[in-house]
């Protein structure tokens, strides 16, 4: 096991304040840890060594003052490799974009940099964020630092590993159906998916546009809250980003849970839930009540449809979003194509991996004439019922707890031939994307084999401040 000391932003900033260390020093140590661990863990697809060192060095002189102005001054970070970074490869874990250099930087990354962060690398992922294990990367799977035979979860597996292995204190992932929360759960981290629209998607290579959100990984709630405060807020480049003001996510993080009502949906503790996970989540809930939280029963009657609904909507959008990868303007192009349609077919056949092709085909099918009403249209109707379910539930409580994943981490290769089994593992997380709600993974126990288990705390729309306060109180235990 190579899980390191749990780096936090506050630790680093206090060392900067006392003059104990400098951004250059922190950056060098970060690169050393990456050099030592990344070969085995395959968390990072690209390390931006020179630019990171140069940027850190430029901060050395004024760092004592910078930390009072910039929330991430001198903090090394990595971002998932589906976030565009100008002049730095952005591969999406795909052969299709192996040599692609974007000309612009994603808004969320831009905001991290503006807040003083030092980008040290781009994190491995399932190809185009499609998967739950990071085994679907064209550049090899990432490994779980708690046990390298196990998957770190996915699709933001590399971003989770980079924090869990102690490379960096915080990282960014993207979450379409659980791709931040599930790897956070598998790696023992805090992982936050904000409300849909809270963080700009501009520069995030789209998987499913109505579900995608960018969010942070960290060891504690406080660091995720800090990163959220940096990346959240309206962006004129993203019409779906919300005008809703950004809250003060750092204040009141150490309070207790008196008067807080926690909803427990029975549907999420029924069949299919692993016993170890159930026990860990129940102990997590028990610790919340010990701190004064009140438990209320809530109901999510449409839970049984969510996997079907999610895989219809997400693949439909993906089939359209990935149409632009056609070999015409950028990225991979198959040679020796004699006709236009051969160019398309060969480029996409050779450029995309199996899971991506599977989802494009599924999505193309559900949107086809004659099937649209039965699949896509109906899925949208169920989606709005699910939104209503949550609205009813939040009338009775402040936050809802479910497991994050129905099982502890699994072995690399264990489910590779069973896409449906993998899809079923998304049940608790996809629900939240469909409803557009914010949710956070909190570690709540360990499996018998020594791997982390997490629980999912769900908040109401744009209620991240309260969600983070409750999560923070819960982690004090």
């Amino acid at each position: 096991m190579i899980v390191r000391e749990r780096l936090t932003i506050d630790q680093i900033h206090s060392m900067y304040a006392s003059g104990e260390t400098t951004p250059s020093e922190v950056c060098r140590q970060t690169l050393e840890r990456i050099d030592a661990g990344n070969g085995r863990l395959n968390a990072l697809l690209c390390v931006t060594r020179e630019s990171a060192l140069a940027r850190a060095a430029a901060m050395d002189a004024g760092i004592g003052e910078a930390i009072t102005r910039k929330p991430l001054a001198g903090i090394p970070v990595v971002v998932k490799d589906n976030l565009c970074t100008a002049g730095i490869p952005t591969t999406c874990g795909s052969r299709m974009l192996e040599h692609y250099l974007p000309p612009y930087t994603a808004t969320a990354v831009r905001r991290l940099l503006d807040a003083g962060a030092v980008l040290v690398g781009k994190a491995n992922l399932d190809e185009y964020a499609m998967g739950g294990s990071t085994e679907n990367s064209a550049f090899g799977p990432a490994r779980n630092p708690w046990n390298e035979d196990y998957v770190p979860g996915g699709s933001s597996g590399g971003s989770a590993v980079a924090v869990a292995a102690g490379f960096v204190p915080v990282s960014l992932g993207s979450d379409t159906g659980g791709s931040i929360r599930q790897p956070a759960s598998f790696c023992g981290l805090v992982g936050l998916k904000p409300t849909y629209g809270r963080v700009s998607r501009y520069g995030l290579v789209a998987f499913a546009s109505s579900l995608d959100q960018i969010g942070p990984f960290s060891w504690n709630v406080r660091d995720s809250a800090r990163v959220l405060g940096v990346i959240a807020g309206h962006d004129p480049h993203d019409s779906t980003s919300a005008a809703e003001p950004v809250g003060d996510y750092l204040s009141g993080l150490d309070g207790d849970l008196r008067g807080v009502r926690i909803g427990i949906p029975a549907e999420c503790f029924a069949e299919g839930l692993d016993d170890e996970v159930r026990a860990a989540v129940e102990s997590g809930i028990a610790r919340l009540t010990a701190r004064g939280a009140e438990i209320v029963e809530v109901s999510l009657p449409h839970m049984k449809y969510v996997i079907a609904v999610y895989y219809i909507i997400a693949t439909a959008e993906a089939s359209s979003n990935l149409a632009r990868f056609d070999g015409v303007r950028y990225g991979f192009r198959a040679d020796q194509a004699r006709t236009l349609s051969e160019l398309y077919r060969r480029t996409r056949d050779l450029g995309f991996g199996d899971e991506v092709k599977r989802r494009i085909m599924l999505g193309t099918f559900v949107l086809s004439s004659g099937y649209y009403d039965a699949y896509y249209e109906k899925a949208q109707r169920v989606r709005s019922m699910l939104v209503d379910d949550f609205a009813a539930a939040f009338a009775k409580c402040d936050a809802i707890i479910t497991p994050t994943a129905p099982t502890p981490p699994f072995r690399i290769g264990e489910k590779s031939d069973h896409p449906l089994a993998l899809y079923l593992g998304d049940i608790y997380t996809v629900t939240i994307n469909l409803a557009g709600l914010p949710a956070i993974n909190l570690p709540c126990g360990m499996s018998a084999s020594g791997l982390p288990i997490g629980m999912q705390l769900i908040g109401n729309h744009f209620d991240e401040a309260r969600l983070l306060r409750i999560a923070s109180a819960a982690e004090q235990l």
Binding site: V205, A206, R324, V328
Partner: protein, 488 residues
């Protein structure tokens, strides 16, 4: 059309909205730049880029919809139309599908069949339905044959230009009705200043759906789509060709296949582009990157109150108010600026007939020769009106006016200025004219004799002489009368 047959025609017109920037990004829409100069991550369809709606495009679409009597939906939805083509950078076009920007309009326009020589036979007012007009983005252009026989190029400068697609009901029964309708659309869109309306440059493009059936039949025949016709005249010819082709096909025992055909203006015929078997399934679905487009009652109200008088209404008003023919009124209202000009001249001159004549015969010819539009004309409406008044009150002769007009057109000087400077005021003082006539008669005894012996055509000679002496300023009517009297 052949006896016993009826054609059914529907039209889809794509009008580029004349905004300064593209519909979903800030790139310029200026025509004629280097290939791919007007592009950015959004209109190049780069990974991660997102569309943001240009409100100026919505405003233009709103004006167009109101001018075409369409109902504007308070909420409309952008949808993705999915298909692969090299000049379609995202692999889908952002358009609208089952909830378009505007719907359900009827327009009443003057239309006429034409005789062999292309002259209108009889103008009648007819109503045509417009199903919908929705907002979408234009694609780029594929460029072939520039140096590489085996390579094609893509220019995305046009990609993302805002379009309004105007879909008619299948209400047209002849190619000339279609012609008059598209012409009407073009004029209307130009009037409200939302589209430049130039078919040759592609900022107005037209597809026609054509089918035929036996007269009296209820059921529609199989329709054929004619795509990408780049002039009004070709549209009319393509439809006529297609109607004939279909009737001949059916009469000779064949049947019509549903297909898309293209017009070849070189061969004067349509030919197959693709049949129904290779028709696309566009897999439309709401674009998750764009929220529903909402417009308020106040917004619609504001647009509506800002609309100018529309060309069809104006044409009919001018015909009634100033007693103009359909053709004259049509020409004068073909452009909003020209109609404004005409009404300006009428106001300044008080003579609608003369105003129409001067504009239609003299001014338009000069503008054409100078290759400029009415907006760049150096004669103001007030000056042309003043000139007509000078003729009407006898200050200058019609002949002088023609010279005056040419100078005004060239220099932009006012008629009073030129008349003053050149002393062009017509001599109406009969004493003065009599004096000149007396001198002329005295100086030309032979001609006087000839006239008196019956060669009355010699009157022209005397008029000419008098005019020569007076520098053309003598009132010709007065000259004639006095001459006749004196020559006896």
């Amino acid at each position: 059309m052949r006896e016993g047959w009826e054609a059914v025609i529907g039209l889809e017109v794509h009008a580029q909205l004349n905004t300064s920037s593209k519909i979903f990004c800030g790139c310029s829409t200026v025509f004629g730049r280097e290939a791919n100069e007007n592009t950015c991550p959004v209109c190049l369809g780069l990974p991660g880029a997102l569309p943001v709606l240009n409100r100026q495009a919505v405003e233009r679409a709103g004006k167009a919809a109101l001018a075409l009597n369409l109902r504007i939906n308070r909420e409309s939805i952008f949808a993705r139309k999915n298909y692969f083509y090299p000049d379609l950078p995202k692999g889908y076009q952002i358009s609208q599908y089952d909830r378009p920007f505007s719907e359900s309009g009827t327009v009443e326009i003057l239309t006429s069949e034409r005789d062999e020589a292309g002259r209108p036979t009889e103008w009648v007012l007819k109503c045509f339905g417009i199903t919908r007009a929705h907002i979408e983005e234009d694609a780029g252009k594929s460029v072939h044959d520039i140096g590489h026989p085996e390579k094609s190029h893509v220019d995305l400068n046009r990609a993302g230009t805002p379009l309004l697609e105007i879909v008619s009901e299948p209400d047209f029964r002849s190619s000339w009705e279609a012609y008059d309708y598209v012409n009407f659309l073009r004029r209307t869109l130009q009037y409200v200043d939302v589209c430049d309306g130039n078919m040759e440059e592609g900022n107005l493009r037209c597809d026609a759906n054509v089918s035929v059936r036996r007269r009296g039949a209820e059921r529609l025949g199989t329709r054929v789509e004619i795509k990408n016709v780049n002039s009004l005249r070709f549209l009319q010819k393509a439809i006529d060709y297609e109607i004939d082709r279909q009737i001949i096909e059916i009469e000779s025992g064949g049947r019509i296949v549903q297909e898309t055909r293209l017009w070849s203006d070189r061969e004067n015929r349509t030919y197959t582009m693709r049949t129904k078997e290779d028709a696309h399934d566009y897999r439309y679905f709401p674009d998750p990157d764009l929220p529903p487009l909402e417009v308020s009652d106040e917004w619609v109200e504001r647009l509506s109150s800002g609309l100018p008088e529309l060309p069809e209404a104006r044409r009919q008003r001018l015909m009634k108010q100033f007693d103009l023919s359909v053709e004259d009124a049509s020409t004068l209202t073909s452009q909003r600026e020209l109609a404004d000009y005409y009404e300006g001249v009428v106001t300044a001159s008080g003579n609608p007939r003369a105003a129409a004549n001067w504009i239609l015969s003299e001014l338009l010819r000069e503008l054409r020769l100078a290759a400029i539009g009415i907006t760049r004309c150096r004669i103001s409406a007030a000056d042309l009106g003043a000139m007509i008044r000078l003729i009407d009150n006898g200050t200058i002769s019609g002949k002088t006016a023609k010279d005056l007009f040419v100078e005004m057109f060239a220099t932009g000087a006012t008629p009073d200025e030129i008349v003053e400077r050149k002393g062009l005021v017509q001599i109406t003082d009969t004493g003065e004219i009599e004096r000149v006539i007396d001198e002329t008669i005295a100086a030309n005894p032979k001609q006087v004799e000839g006239y008196r012996s019956g060669k009355t055509s010699l009157i022209g000679f005397f008029v000419g002489q008098v005019m020569k002496v007076t520098g053309g300023k003598a009132n010709p009517q007065a000259v004639n009368e006095i001459l006749k009297k004196k020559l006896g």
